[in-house]
Symmetry: C2
């Protein structure tokens, strides 16, 4: 939610749905800049605040916007009520600042709906079993919305955002990128995981798990947006649904690792213990009993990951550790890849034709990801978009 | 609470008390300007927001400052925990924006204290029986503090504020006004009711009802401040404890009212029905079966009160209604007045000596209030302060 004008706009969209005869539950995020303002206040005190109190502070952002939206709806003659996460019965675990929803007791929401009210709920937050306020981590309002929709068995969950849907590629990079009308949960999950920023990954996971049809729409247009739903026969006909890219990873390579069982485990267990998620992992074929291991991590984790890797490298008698943060990951995603051979070959050919060297490759049933030099990112996205005729 | 620097200062005061070996519960107000900012946001939407959602929004102000104070304490190595009104068990009635505390379930506070934690609680708010967030009305943080102190059977409740105590008169008006070291609940209640702005009236009422010693101190000095407590023998020796003044009232006079039973009742019932509190009421002696009735109301209520009075005046065949908003109320307060004759006489003499006309008089066992022309306010306070030697 942005400023007051934006809240008024959101109210008008809510009223549209209500006037269609629907029961409406709205889940709101904080107003633009509000969460950042609160975090800045906290960071003025200490760079390492305790997370429980951090959530206690930051959760107020959504409370303000939920209250303001309800006030707006009431002032326009509609019966609305605002609810915090705990009032809405959103139970989470105790992982402050990145809690997970465990359960939603929708009884009070249902009661309000039965009385004809529009229910406005603070996204991004919940409450632990012992009554502590938690937040779901940034962007968690989408997840809240989907979880509530699932718990209520809602017909559909609409996510209002700045863009009018999911595109075949980032429209800022590919001029003729096309808005996708329908996409499967699996494809959306891959695209979101691979760098498309339209939706939070966890919100898509939730929608898939509970089979909640999800629609991404723009707050400011009447466009139908993109519908994310269970795959059907029609969807499989499309080989490549879209292209995602991600410049936020860095690569770490451990050189000349003795190729013995348990060596890789040692490294990745140490990283896991430090809560550093590892994305792609590539291990070369062993030569003379030695091998190289490369993997990617989020750029924010690079310094920490490098330190840990260097410690482990010494322990396992590897030659050394080199890092590269000037890389990008470009990925193509499509259900149809399952039944089409030659997709990978076409990707490699296309990139080679433009002199783009592939540093790492990772594939799954419905996606192919390539790590390339960062400077080629936009070019790679454009030529792949064209090669697979995604503008059609 | 002001800005971050102020929060850090408050933290240092809290730590002082903790280091003395005390269990400490801190009740915080919102940061300076925060409540106004939130109200402004709401008023941008509608001048008449529904009060339930209004409280939902405004209550976040204290939540932010409680969280920030707890973060500060934790960052300094002290174990602290922040609690909202509902987490602290503060039950109120359902009068949104001006709720009253019904009960405090201090079990969770006690549990935290037992575990050695400093407990930081949001002032100014609570929760209804059905789980709705309420606020106590502006300035209600003082009341929260006293109520929690009472419920916990605390040794003392310290109210930190901008001034370093209660003075014999407003120091901005009387240069040699003296800080009062000790004052009785009754005297403080009169002073607060009569215009002294140091403490909220309801917080003093609460302290008196539950016999919680209350200390008003400045956040930024180490001065002991003013202790408000049950009266003792020593206190009665002081005839006049302090002087208060109030420029926020206006006078309404109904002229030539037929002096029949039930006439005054008719007027004041109509005002009560419109929720307009009436302060002083004076009725002159009847002449020829007619009398004049004068009373004072808050300036904010004047327009509304005038309309109602004019309607009633017609019904009861009075001659007319005149109003005056250029008045002030100057009051002297002291327990010793009970046993000293001649105090009223000295007040009237002193004012007369300086040509200050008294428009209305109201007295109780421990106070004398005079309504005078507004332009004489400061002069009246100064000459009374001198006449009763309050600087000594």
């Amino acid at each position: 939610m942005g400023n007051i004008d934006r809240i008024k706009y959101v109210a008008s969209r809510v009223i549209e749905e209500k006037e269609k005869g629907n029961d409406v539950v709205v889940v709101v995020s904080a107003m633009a800049g509000e969460t950042d303002r609160l975090i800045k206040l906290v960071k003025e005190i200490t760079p390492e605040p305790n997370e429980r109190d951090m959530d206690f502070v930051v959760a107020t952002g959504e409370q303000v916007s939920a209250g303001l939206l309800s006030i707006t709806l009431n002032s326009l003659g509609y019966k609305a009520v605002s609810l915090t996460g705990w009032q809405a019965g959103i139970k989470t675990d105790t992982a402050f600042t990145k809690a997970r929803i465990l359960d939603i007791n929708v009884q009070s929401i249902k009661e309000y709906l039965k009385n004809g009210k529009i229910v406005v709920i603070t996204g991004f937050q919940g409450i632990t079993e012992t009554g502590e306020i938690t937040t779901l981590g940034r962007g968690g309002s989408d997840t809240s919305a989907v979880a509530i929709a699932a718990a209520l068995n809602a017909d559909r969950c609409d996510i209002y955002t700045d863009v009018d849907g999911v595109y075949t590629a980032d429209p800022r990079i590919v001029e003729n990128a096309r808005k996708i009308d329908e996409i499967s949960y699996e494809e959306m999950l891959e695209l979101a995981s691979l760098g498309a920023k339209v939706l939070q990954i966890r919100s898509v996971e939730f929608a898939m798990k509970y089979k909640v049809p999800l629609r991404v729409r723009c707050t400011f247009t009447t466009d139908e947006g993109t519908l994310i739903k269970e795959e059907d026969k029609e969807m499989e006909k499309v080989v490549v649904r879209g292209i995602a890219h991600n410049k936020n990873e860095a690569r770490i390579t451990v050189e000349r690792v003795p190729d013995k069982p348990g060596i890789a485990a040692k490294l990745f267990e140490a990283l896991a213990k430090a809560n550093i998620p590892v994305d792609m992992i590539v291990q070369n074929v062993s030569v003379d009993g030695y091998t190289d291991i490369s993997f990617t991590v989020d750029k924010n984790d690079l310094t920490k990951a490098q330190k840990i890797t260097e410690t482990v490298a010494k322990e396992i008698n590897a030659r050394g550790v080199i890092t590269d943060d000037k890389i990008a990951k470009v990925s193509i995603v499509g259900l149809g890849m399952r039944n089409h051979a030659g997709v990978a070959g076409k990707v490699f050919d296309t990139l080679a034709k433009y002199g783009i060297n592939i540093l790492m490759i990772s594939t799954s049933e419905i996606k192919i990801s390539c790590i390339i030099e960062e400077k080629f990112t936009e070019l790679a996205v454009r030529v792949l978009h064209e090669a697979f005729h995604l503008d059609k």
